[in-house]
C-alpha cells in the first residue's frame, strides 16, 4: 500500500479520536466566554481612546470603562503610572519587532519565520534583541532552534549564539549582559544555559557540583533584580544562581519548586517575589523565600509572555487575553492596551528607544588599497595619506632607514578599506637578508598557547585553544582545530601581514583532514616579543566549511 494511503488512513484515525473528545456544548461555552472577554477588552480599549477625546473637548478629567456592553463615565482614580512607551513585540509568523506601545509605529528587527513559534527577549533599552529561529536539525533531533542576537540600532547583523533543542525561552538579565535559556538535547534532561552577550562565554547551570545534573523543572527561568537567576530543578528544588557562575560558587537553595503544576512564565516583581503565569490561565505572585503565594484576581487567558517594569510597578501580560497591563497590588484594574496586530508576546522596553528607521546606509566610501611593494617608506606613506589612510610602518631587520622598501602590507593591495583605516607597511633595507615570514614568528607559534579563538558568527572569544572551552560553541571550534592538528592536517604560517620590533600579525592557513565538514580555516594571530622570544597573544579564526556544494565563510 502506498505510504500516502497509509498516512491518509492514520491521519483519519487520529482525527476520529477527536470525535470522542469533542464536547460541543462545553466547547461552545468556552468560545462564548472568550468572545465576551475579547469584546470587553476591545470596548475598554476603544473607550479609553474616546475618553481622551471627551476629556480634551470638555476639559474634564474622565475615565470611561466598559462593563458588559454598557459604557459609563467614571470619576478618575489616581493618575496611572507612566508606562514605558515602547515594547518588543513578537507577532504571528515569527516577526520580531520594536513597537511603540500603541502599535502605531513599528519596526521589524528580524525576518518572519512562517510556522515557527519565535521567542524573543531584549535588553531593557532594546539595544540588543535575542530571539529563536529554526536551527539545523540533527538525526533524531528534528526540532532544534538557533538562538541569535541582533542589535536593531547598531549594525543590524544577525549573529547566531548557539543551536540547541528545546524551547530555549531566552531571558535577558537586568544588566543586559547575559541571556539565559532552557534546553533539552533531544529528550535528555532539560538544562539551563547562560551566555554572555558581551563576550560569548557560556555556562551550564547545575545545582550541586559538576557531575550531578538533574533535569531543570518546567518552572520557567526568571532573573532577580540583583542579577541572580532563579532556576528550578526537578526533585532538587529552587535555586538562585549567581552569574557568572565560577567553579567555586554554589547556587543558593531557596526552597522547593512552587508546585507540581505548569507554571509557564515567570518574572520577578520585587527582590523576593516572582509573578507566575500558570497553564490554567491563572496569574499569581509567590514569595521566593517563603513559598507563600497569592492569586491575582485578573482574567488574562493563556499567557505567552510576562514582563515587569519596575518604574511603573506594572506587569505587561501578553497571551490569548490580548495585551494587558496588570498591577500586582490589585489597586488598579487590568488595563488592556492597544494591540499590535497579531501580537503573540511582548516585553517592556525602558528607557525609550527610538523606533524611527535607522539612517539609510550611505554609499560606500571605501577606497582600494594600492600595491605598495617596492616603494620606499616615504613614497608608500605619501600614497596612503593621499587616499586618506593612516600609515603604520614596521621594519624587518636590525635597522630602519629611508631607503627601506615595502615587502609586505596589510591589508593586501586590491582590498577595500574606509579612509582613516590603518594600513601597515612592512619594510626591509636594501640588500638586507629579510626572510619573510621571519623564522622568529614561526618558532613563536609552537610555544604559544595563550590565545583566543573568535567565532566569526558571534564575535565570541574563547580562551585556551584545544583546552576544552567551557561551552558547546567554543568546544566545537577547539575540537575542530585540535582535530586538524592531530590528524596531520597542515597548519602553516602563510604570511606575515605586519610586524614591528615589538609585535606582529600573521596569517595561518589550515587544511582539514579528509571527511571533515570544515574544509579549511584561516587563523590570524597576534604575536608579541617578550624576554623569551615571540609568543602569540591573540588571534582570530575564520572558517571555510562545506555544506552541500556550497563553500561559505563562517560556519556552522
Amino acid at each position: 500500500m502506498p505510504i500516502e494511503t497509509r498516512v491518509r488512513e492514520a491521519l483519519g484515525a487520529l482525527a476520529d479520536e477527536a470525535e470522542g473528545i469533542d464536547d460541543a456544548p462545553r466547547l461552545w461555552d468556552r468560545t462564548r466566554h472568550r468572545i465576551t472577554a475579547r469584546r470587553r477588552r476591545r470596548i475598554a480599549a476603544a473607550a479609553a481612546g474616546a475618553a481622551v477625546v471627551v476629556a480634551a473637548a470638555a476639559s474634564i478629567a474622565a475615565v470611561v470603562v466598559a462593563e458588559d456592553d454598557r459604557v459609563v463615565l467614571q470619576h478618575p482614580g489616581p493618575p496611572p503610572a507612566a508606562l514605558p512607551p515602547e515594547i518588543l513585540a513578537v507577532v504571528d509568523g515569527g516577526v520580531v519587532a520594536l513597537s511603540s506601545a500603541d502599535g502605531s509605529v513599528r519596526r521589524e528587527v528580524a525576518p518572519a519565520e512562517p510556522g515557527f513559534p519565535t521567542e524573543a527577549a531584549a535588553t531593557a533599552d532594546g539595544a540588543v534583541v535575542v530571539y529563536t529561529r529554526p536551527g539545523e536539525p540533527l538525526a533524531g533531533c528534528p526540532d532544534r532552534r538557533d538562538l541569535v542576537r541582533v542589535t536593531p540600532h547598531g549594525d543590524g547583523d544577525v549573529r547566531r549564539l548557539l543551536t540547541a533543542s528545546g524551547d530555549l525561552r531566552p531571558m535577558v538579565s537586568p544588566d543586559g549582559r547575559w541571556v539565559a535559556y532552557a534546553m533539552d538535547e533531544c529528550d535528555a534532561p532539560a538544562e539551563v544555559g547562560i551566555t554572555s552577550l558581551v563576550d560569548g562565554r557560556n555556562y551550564r547551570v547545575q545545582p550541586t557540583g559538576p557531575r550531578h545534573l538533574p533535569g531543570v523543572d518546567s518552572v520557567p527561568l526568571a532573573w532577580a533584580p540583583d542579577g541572580r537567576l532563579l532556576v528550578s530543578f526537578a526533585g532538587a528544588g529552587q535555586f538562585l544562581v549567581s552569574v557568572p557562575l565560577g567553579d567555586e560558587q554554589e547556587p543558593a537553595h531557596v526552597g522547593a519548586a512552587p508546585e507540581q503544576a505548569f507554571a509557564e512564565r515567570a518574572v520577578f516583581v520585587s527582590d523576593h517575589e516572582v509573578a507566575l503565569a500558570w497553564s490554567a490561565e491563572r496569574l499569581s505572585v509567590q514569595d521566593v523565600g517563603t513559598g507563600e503565594r497569592r492569586d491575582l484576581d485578573v482574567e488574562v487567558g493563556r499567557v505567552s509572555s510576562l514582563s515587569w517594569d519596575a518604574g511603573s510597578g506594572r506587569l505587561l501580560v501578553a497571551g490569548s487575553g490580548g495585551l494587558v497591563v496588570v498591577d500586582p497590588s490589585g489597586e488598579e484594574p487590568p488595563r488592556p492596551i492597544a494591540v499590535v496586530d497579531g501580537l503573540t508576546s511582548a516585553a517592556w522596553l525602558r528607557p525609550p528607544v527610538t523606533v524611527a528607521e535607522p539612517p539609510a546606509p550611505s554609499e560606500s566610501r571605501e577606497v582600494v588599497v594600492p600595491d605598495l611593494a617596492g616603494l620606499t617608506i616615504d613614497a608608500a606613506a605619501a600614497a596612503l595619506e593621499d587616499l586618506g589612510f593612516a600609515v603604520e610602518a614596521a621594519a624587518i631587520g636590525t635597522t630602519a632607514s629611508p631607503d627601506d622598501t615595502v615587502v609586505w602590507q596589510e591589508p593586501p593591495a586590491g582590498t577595500r578599506r574606509l579612509p582613516g583605516d590603518r594600513v601597515r607597511v612592512y619594510t626591509c633595507g636594501p640588500g638586507a637578508d629579510c626572510v619573510v615570514p621571519p623564522p622568529d614568528y614561526v618558532d613563536g607559534l609552537a610555544a604559544a598557547t595563550d590565545w583566543h579563538v573568535v567565532d566569526p558568527a558571534t564575535d565570541a572569544r574563547f580562551p585556551g585553544l584545544g583546552h576544552g572551552s567551557p561551552d558547546e560553541l567554543g568546544g566545537a571550534i577547539a575540537e575542530r582545530v585540535a582535530r586538524l592538528d592531530f590528524s596531520g592536517a597542515s597548519v602553516v604560517v602563510s604570511q606575515v601581514v605586519g610586524a614591528s620590533a615589538g609585535d606582529a600579525e600573521l596569517w595561518v592557513r589550515g587544511r582539514a583532514a579528509p571527511g571533515d565538514p570544515l574544509v579549511g580555516l584561516d587563523l590570524r594571530l597576534r604575536a608579541a616579543r617578550g624576554p623569551d622570544g615571540w609568543s602569540v597573544t591573540g588571534g582570530e579564526v575564520r572558517y571555510l566549511c562545506a555544506r552541500g556544494e556550497d563553500v561559505t565563510l563562517a560556519c556552522p
Binding site: A18, R39, A50, V71, G115
Partner: protein
C-alpha cells in the same frame, strides 16, 4: 454619553446576543472539522479545544462585521496559527509528565505489541510541527499544495519538501518495524 462615544468611534457599543444564535449555528456547522484538524496538529485534547475556542472567538467580530467570506478557510488558518503558539506549552507539559513518572520513562517506550497503525500514529505525532501540519492539510483535508502553502504562509516548494521529508521519515519508521518482525 453612549451616543457621543459611539460617534467618537466606539463602534462596539451594541447589545450582545443579537447575532449569537446565528453564530451558534455557524459553530455547530464547523466545530467538528476544526477539532479534527486541531487534534491532529496537537495530539492533545486540551490544547486542541483551546485552539478551536480561540479561533472561533477571534473570528466572531470579523464575521459580525461581514468580513469573513469563507468561515471554514478562516478557521483553518486560525487553528493552525493558534496551535503554533501552543506547541511549546505541550512540549513543556510532556517533559513535566515524564518527570512525574520516572520509572516508566526510564524503561523507555516499548514497541512490542504495537501494530503498524500505532507505530504510524506515534511517528506522526513525533514529526516536527510544521511537517505534521503539512501532512494534515494535504492528506486529512485533501488540500492542494497551493492551498496548504497559503494556509501555512510558506512557499509551495516548502510544502513539497516538507511533505517529502515527512513521508520519508514515516516510510523509514514502517520499514524499520517491518524489518524487526
Amino acid at each position: 454619553v453612549s451616543a457621543e462615544l459611539a460617534a467618537g468611534g466606539v463602534g462596539e457599543v451594541v447589545t450582545a446576543g443579537r447575532d449569537e444564535a446565528a453564530y451558534a449555528a455557524l459553530f455547530a456547522a464547523h466545530h467538528r472539522a476544526a477539532m479534527r484538524l486541531a487534534f491532529v496538529l496537537t495530539g492533545d485534547a486540551a490544547t486542541a479545544e483551546d485552539a478551536v475556542a480561540d479561533a472561533f472567538a477571534a473570528m466572531y467580530p470579523k464575521w459580525r462585521a461581514g468580513r469573513v467570506g469563507a468561515p471554514e478557510a478562516y478557521l483553518r488558518r486560525a487553528v493552525v496559527n493558534r496551535v503554533r503558539g501552543g506547541i511549546r506549552r505541550r512540549v513543556v507539559r510532556r517533559r513535566h509528565e515524564r518527570a512525574l513518572r520516572p520509572a516508566a520513562a526510564a524503561a523507555g517506550p516499548s514497541d512490542a505489541g504495537l501494530g503498524d497503525r500505532d507505530r504510524l500514529r506515534a511517528a506522526l505525532l513525533a514529526l516536527a510541527p510544521r511537517q505534521r501540519a503539512v501532512l494534515a492539510l494535504r492528506f486529512l483535508e485533501d488540500r492542494s499544495e497551493a492551498d496548504t502553502a497559503a494556509v501555512l504562509g510558506i512557499a509551495v516548494g516548502t510544502v513539497k519538501s516538507q511533505t517529502a521529508r515527512a513521508l520519508e521519515r514515516l516510510r523509514a519508521v514502517l520499514a524499520d518495524t517491518e524489518g524487526d518482525e
